[in-house]
């Protein structure tokens, strides 16, 4: 125990204490700009949030963003991993290229997409215009009906490589004997995919779904760089809501309460995935 003490002390200082303290301050009305007024409010920060229209709007947008992006990541990563599981010329080069988005830092990725989506000099407009798909430059991020999907697209681009690798590992672990046995039994390609490949990929899928859902729910960088929650409130998701409340309004009490609700939601979703996808593993 004596030898563990320094590690325990460091962990206590940098992990346990901040977590416990943030829970503690979520029961107070703490605004840094009102340092002399920090009354204990019990669960009021939480109950106020549950009755706050803006909060539920942010929840809805977070759910929409997560559903769209995680679904897209899962489908694209599955297709790419199936492709990379085949032997063909240039496979290694393709695998290397695939890793590039993963290697780009989040903020750099966000800045790159900001340029791509720009309505006056963006590459997206440039390409579409030159290909005659549009007759004048379009407004992308400024169009509230498109904003969330465009941000989801940038998120998917960044996240697909990791998801692909996780799925590829699952694919590589499937014994060749199973495919051989299925062939002997007369199974078609589709039947082999449905009855051999997919069941064997369940652990990888579970990992991808849990990880990517957690990433999508908590994602902040793209919203910060691309839209700052706008236009209007079109991309005002939960992570942005927490940032504004905590670091712009400097309301640490209600910001902490929101963070705990987000953490609980993330845990709940992870549990749900494990219960459903993990049941038959």
């Amino acid at each position: 125990m004596l030898f563990l003490a320094p590690v325990m002390a460091v962990l206590g200082a940098v992990a346990v204490f901040p977590i416990a303290y943030s829970l503690y301050i979520s029961f107070f009305s703490i605004k840094l700009t009102r340092p002399n007024r920090t009354p204990f409010v019990g669960l009021k920060n939480y109950t106020d949030l549950l009755g706050d229209e803006a909060f539920w709007g942010a929840v809805w947008r977070t759910v929409s963003f997560s559903l769209v992006s995680v679904s897209a990541i899962a489908v694209i990563a599955l297709l790419v991993s199936l492709l990379l599981n085949q032997e063909f010329r240039g496979r290694r080069i393709l695998s290397t290229i695939l890793l590039v988005p993963w290697a780009i830092p989040y903020v750099a990725n966000a800045l790159m997409w900001k340029w791509i989506y720009d309505s006056s000099y963006g590459a997206l407009n440039g390409i579409l215009y030159q290909l005659d798909f549009i007759d004048k430059y379009m407004v992308w991020l400024g169009d509230q009906d498109k904003t969330l999907f465009l941000i989801a697209n940038a998120f998917v681009w960044k996240e697909v490589p990791l998801a692909t690798i996780l799925l590829l590992v699952s694919l590589k672990s499937i014994p060749a004997d199973l495919y051989l046995a299925a062939r002997v039994d007369g199974a078609t390609v589709w039947q082999r995919f449905v009855h051999v490949t997919l069941p064997a990929m369940k652990p990888g899928f579970m990992l991808v779904m849990i990880y990517e859902t957690m990433m999508a729910i908590r994602h902040f960088d793209l919203f910060f760089v691309l839209t700052e929650g706008g236009p209007g409130s079109a991309s005002h998701v939960l992570s942005w809501h927490i940032y504004v409340e905590t670091f712009r309004n400097l309301s640490f009490g209600s910001g902490a309460a929101m963070s705990y609700l987000l953490a609980i939601a993330t845990f709940a979703l992870s549990y749900l995935f494990i219960r459903t996808l993990g049941r038959k593993i």
Binding site: L2, F3, P6, A9, L32, T33, R34, P35, N36, D118, S119, S120, K136, V139, W140, L141, G142, D143, Q144, T227, E228, G229, G230, P231, G232, S233, H236, V244, F247, R248, N249, L250, S251
Partner: protein
């Protein structure tokens, strides 16, 4: 003995012993001392602007007074949050730069102190722009001296104006619509007017300018919202923007994603005929190395609404004094000297404001500098100094600056954007903003 041998001799028990000793030393009360105790003199913190100029002016201050100054700076984007953390954490601090936007918040929290008891500082008010003095005043007390000031200017591309057949820039918002429509018809610009309405810190300045020039205000003298009143200009101003985007199509619908900098670049690239930008941008816009329309950019008085005037919004940043400095008489007097050195005169002249202007083009808040030959020559090289001075005389402080401004500002920006996007009518958007304002006012 080689380092490797020494490491080999350092056993686990030694490692633990040294670690514990080190941690204990760090935590022992009395050993952890605030930095101030180790350094005499003052501590000054600013955002990272004109750092070399500040440092050299500080060196001159120390040489003149014998008072050393610890100088630190941090990026503007994180400045407010960083300073709040310093205040709350009790970090040593005597003088700092303050934005007019934060004054009520910082004064209410007791982090900064009034300086109006120092006659050596108050004497400069006689030569300062009124809106600057008003912007540094909260609760009847003055909290500093000007570091820099500027205002929202109306700029136009003279070449495009002539190409469209106009001799003079628009003097009203309606006239601007008419001129813009002609420009559209002639294919001179798809969106002749550049408005940057993205959700960023500049947005309140654009909004305030539109409201003031429509003869209105957002908040009355008692601090209550009047923006929702149709006679107070805010609804009319927002409706003008909505119509400009949706009906006349003279402002790009992308304005809600266009920040000030992006808008500036777009104007500099020759995409627009008119723009509302900070006045200090005029220098860059007429610089051939940075602008494709250099030489053609002129300033005109802010267009006025039907019941409005050429008023615009002005903003300023100032040198403030921390409360901890004010509580110690000797420290407060030294800090006042430092503030005067920067915000007032040093060596008998407004040296720092002049240096800042000549160095980075930052505007000044003291009227006598407009008569300085060097400054007039610098202004005239890219603008019309008389126009610049005339518009500055009509600048007004932001009426929304209160302790709850930060909490209201995001919602207000979203409300204006929602109206521009057509989600809600102008009156509904402004009412939503006003309701939040009054709710926050009551909670404070």
């Amino acid at each position: 003995m080689m380092l490797k041998d020494k490491m080999r001799q350092l056993g686990r028990r030694d490692f633990l012993r040294y670690s514990a000793a080190g941690a204990g030393a760090l935590m022992a009360p009395g050993l952890v001392r605030p930095a101030r105790a180790e350094t005499a003199g003052l501590t000054m913190h600013t955002w990272s602007a004109a750092v070399d100029t500040v440092q050299s002016h500080l060196s001159a201050f120390t040489a003149e007074t014998g008072i050393p100054v610890n100088y630190g700076n941090s990026p503007w984007a994180q400045y407010r949050e960083g300073m709040v953390a310093k205040f709350v954490g009790g970090a040593p601090l005597d003088a700092m730069w303050v934005s007019d936007s934060w004054l009520p918040e910082w004064a209410e929290a007791g982090w900064i102190a009034p300086v109006d008891e120092f006659d050596s500082l108050m004497k400069y008010n006689a030569e300062a722009e009124d809106f600057c003095t008003q912007s540094m005043t909260y609760g009847g007390r003055q909290y500093g001296l000007t570091y820099y000031t500027d205002y929202m200017a109306f700029l136009y591309d003279e070449a495009k104006l002539k190409e469209a057949g106009f001799d003079a820039p628009p003097s009203s918002w309606d006239e601007l619509v008419e001129q813009s429509r002609v420009m559209k018809e002639k294919g001179i610009a798809e969106y002749p007017m550049m408005l940057a309405m993205a959700q960023e810190s500049w947005l309140i300045e654009f909004i305030s300018t539109l409201v003031y020039s429509h003869g209105g205000r957002l908040v009355d003298d008692s601090g209550s919202a009047v923006m929702q009143d149709s006679k107070e200009g805010a609804v009319e101003a927002l409706q003008w923007v909505v119509d400009a985007v949706d009906k006349h199509k003279i402002v790009s619908p992308a304005c809600v994603e266009t920040g000030e900098l992006a808008g500036l670049k777009s104007f500099a690239a020759g995409n627009h005929a008119f723009a509302m930008v900070a006045k200090y941008r005029l220098r860059m816009l007429n610089d051939p190395a940075q602008s494709q329309i250099a030489g053609n950019v002129k300033q005109a008085m802010m267009p006025q609404g039907a019941n409005g005037s050429h008023a615009t919004v002005g903003w300023m940043r100032f040198h403030g004094m921390s409360t901890q400095a004010a509580q110690d008489k000797a420290r407060a007097e030294n800090t006042a000297k430092l503030i005067e050195w920067f915000g007032g005169k040093s060596d008998g002249a407004y040296t720092f404001q002049k240096l800042l202007f000549l160095d980075i083009g930052a505007g000044f808040g003291v009227k006598p500098l407009f008569e300085d030959p060097e400054i007039r020559a610098a202004y005239d090289s890219y603008g019309d100094v008389n126009m610049i001075q005339a518009q500055q005389a009509l600048a007004r402080k932001k009426d929304t600056i209160t302790p709850w401004f930060g909490e209201w500002n995001d919602t207000n920006g979203s409300a204006w954007q929602s109206a521009i996007l057509g989600n809600v009518d102008a009156a509904g958007a402004v009412k939503k903003s006003a309701d939040l304002w009054n709710e926050l006012k009551d909670s404070y």
